[in-house]
Subunit: 372 residues, 2 copies
């Protein structure tokens, strides 16, 4: 018997979790589910109608029902009949029969038949791209789309042609903030998929953890709102010699680094707007106290709370600065934060964001690293 | 009683055709259906399975059954029960009951439940964008997706923010070939919608007629084929002073006209590849003899036969050249074709394509127009 939150699961885990498991339950996605719960608790709706169209074990929905007290209707779907049977058993055991609907069909077909949902969770194996268009449709106004992408290596640049094909954007593996670029490409894709049907999908909360990216989007309707979001889509220019970085529109593209005249690398189109709604982050932070969340969930949230206060495009890392300035043995992170007036990022332990412009970062880096 | 091809329709037409008609039949779309038939006849398959998911009167499918002799199964769908009843009556009257399947549901939901189709026709009111993802899925390898867009003013640049939102591209209303730009943006969108799921959708035959654009795409599968198509997506740079035009990749973007140093206008991303497969055009031309097609269909085909032999990016028009060179009273089209070694385009009666580069076009224009 496994316990996650208030849910008891009769499962024995294999040594390697894979999609070949009879009923898919991944304990490493606990944080993913914790975040869903914190988000739901923070939503200004009561009596929620939620849907997990690729429900697998269904633990996410059961936790939502047991731990938030505000889900009125949970719609479960999985194409695999073993998963469906497992979920039904789970529903019975936890006495939730009156609150769930169970389907066993193609996720996109089901999503296109539903309406007025407050929350839809797109959490497939691999890329969420095939599910975005269908997942956006059934959401009510102000409803939330949760999107998990496990194809992070594609988004981050290990397979650039796949990124271009699947997401329509060029990644930026050479940058120390390549994961952030990947997440911004994912956001762009969701914004685009919404905009094409006059919906705005505004990113509220984003993070990168282990092998996946995850973003919550709030849906609104109308061409003007969609157009407004599109204004935040652009490109990142990056110099892999001096670490210069800049977010620009199509008009602002240039080829030569304004700092060191090296050839600039080009990434995008991608989302240049904010990754976090600060109020939501604070609300999720408050709700954590009433919930059984993992240590890792707390760690991510704590970092993001700081990070949301300084939402720069890209960040620096100690090792990238050391390499660019050809200086080893850097001082500890605390010194960096102090000197650069910076905050840590949840993307990597050696990364920090700073409000300073690039020339100033380089100037202070020289001082700091030479003194070290 | 109306007759189109071999189909008899018991309908009386209102003075204005609109989506408010009880059963939608638009006689002005006759050419659209003629082209479908010519395409089907040219396909290297027998025993076709075809689908018209927004079937309306259903005349397209009935014509395919009666006039091509190679459709084994015709799948009709319309969300409107009056249209469905009308179609069923039509099927009975023409004795085709054994060959049709009739549905009355959401077009995208139905498309996602079908498989192995040789031909799918996306011909909605307005933009085809909401139907592309679903329309590509049920096609067999080498099957054909027909896409009609009636939102030509959006694609051609009258509403640039709508174009950006819906198609993800910037149109180019200032260019004399703005319709071609719109068509290339439509193609890009379909190519992208295929590529995101590892499908290649290769444009085979495109045209602009009255209030709509229409393109036939052949589907193939696999990331490499999709990547190859994506290589033909780029931008058009255009000078609205000297008419300079150039197709470029993201890397090739520049802001100043290489000819007259005016600020260049930027359009795209869009399809820079060919608009016509010449073999297919020839085949359609041959099949016309066995078919009852309209005079207009013949006229379009005749122009495109020439045009497909000289597939430039954009074309010139007599009036744009006259305006750019500030010379009125131009000589007749025949002189232009001769001097510029050109061919007419079906896009507009005063347009021509030329194999000459832009400087040479301007040089010869000066000569021609000054002499005129």
């Amino acid at each position: 018997m496994i316990k996650e939150g208030k849910v008891y699961l009769e499962l024995s885990l294999p040594s390697v979790v894979s999609s070949q498991m009879e009923v898919f339950y991944n304990p490493q996605m606990r944080e993913n589910r914790d975040m869903s719960l914190l988000l739901l608790l923070s939503l200004p709706f009561e009596r929620l109608k939620v849907c997990d169209p690729m429900g697998a074990s269904g633990v996410r929905l059961i936790r939502m029902l047991l731990e938030t007290q505000k889900v009125e209707r949970a719609i479960y779907n999985d194409i695999n009949h073993r998963a469906v049977d497992f979920f039904k058993e789970l529903v019975e055991r936890h006495g939730l029969r009156d609150k769930v609907e169970v389907y066993q069909e193609d996720a996109c077909v089901l999503l296109r038949k539903l309406r007025n949902l407050h929350y839809v969770d797109i959490d497939p194996f691999g890329s969420p791209v095939p599910f975005l268009e269908s997942g956006i449709l059934p959401l009510a106004r102000h409803g939330v789309l949760a999107v998990t992408a496990t194809d992070t290596s594609v988004l981050s640049g290990t397979y650039p042609s796949t990124c271009l094909r699947r997401y329509g954007s060029r990644p930026l593996l050479s940058a120390e903030f390549y994961h952030e670029v990947g997440l911004r490409i994912l956001i762009k894709k969701v914004v685009e998929e919404g905009a094409k049907s006059d919906f705005s999908l505004k990113p509220l909360f984003s993070y990168s953890y282990r092998h996946y990216f995850r973003v919550f989007f709030q849906k609104d309707v109308g061409p003007k709102r969609a157009d407004l979001l599109l204004e935040s889509i652009g490109f990142i220019l990056y110099c892999d010699r001096c670490l210069y970085r800049e977010g620009v529109s199509l008009e602002g593209l240039r080829t030569s680094c304004p700092h060191c005249h090296n050839r600039l690398l080009l990434s995008g189109p991608l989302w240049l707007g904010e990754l976090w709604d600060r109020e939501l982050v604070e609300s999720m932070w408050r709700w954590k106290d009433g919930l059984e969340v993992s240590e890792n969930t707390l760690r991510i949230l704590r970092r993001i709370r700081e990070e949301a206060g300084l939402q720069t495009t890209g960040f620096y890392t100690i090792s990238a600065l050391g390499k660019a300035l050809r200086i080893g043995q850097p001082p500890p992170m605390e010194r960096f934060l102090e000197v650069f007036e910076g905050v840590r990022t949840h993307f990597t332990g050696e990364g920090f964001r700073t409000p300073l412009d690039h020339s100033e970062v380089l100037r202070r880096s020289h001082e700091l690293l030479q003194r070290a």
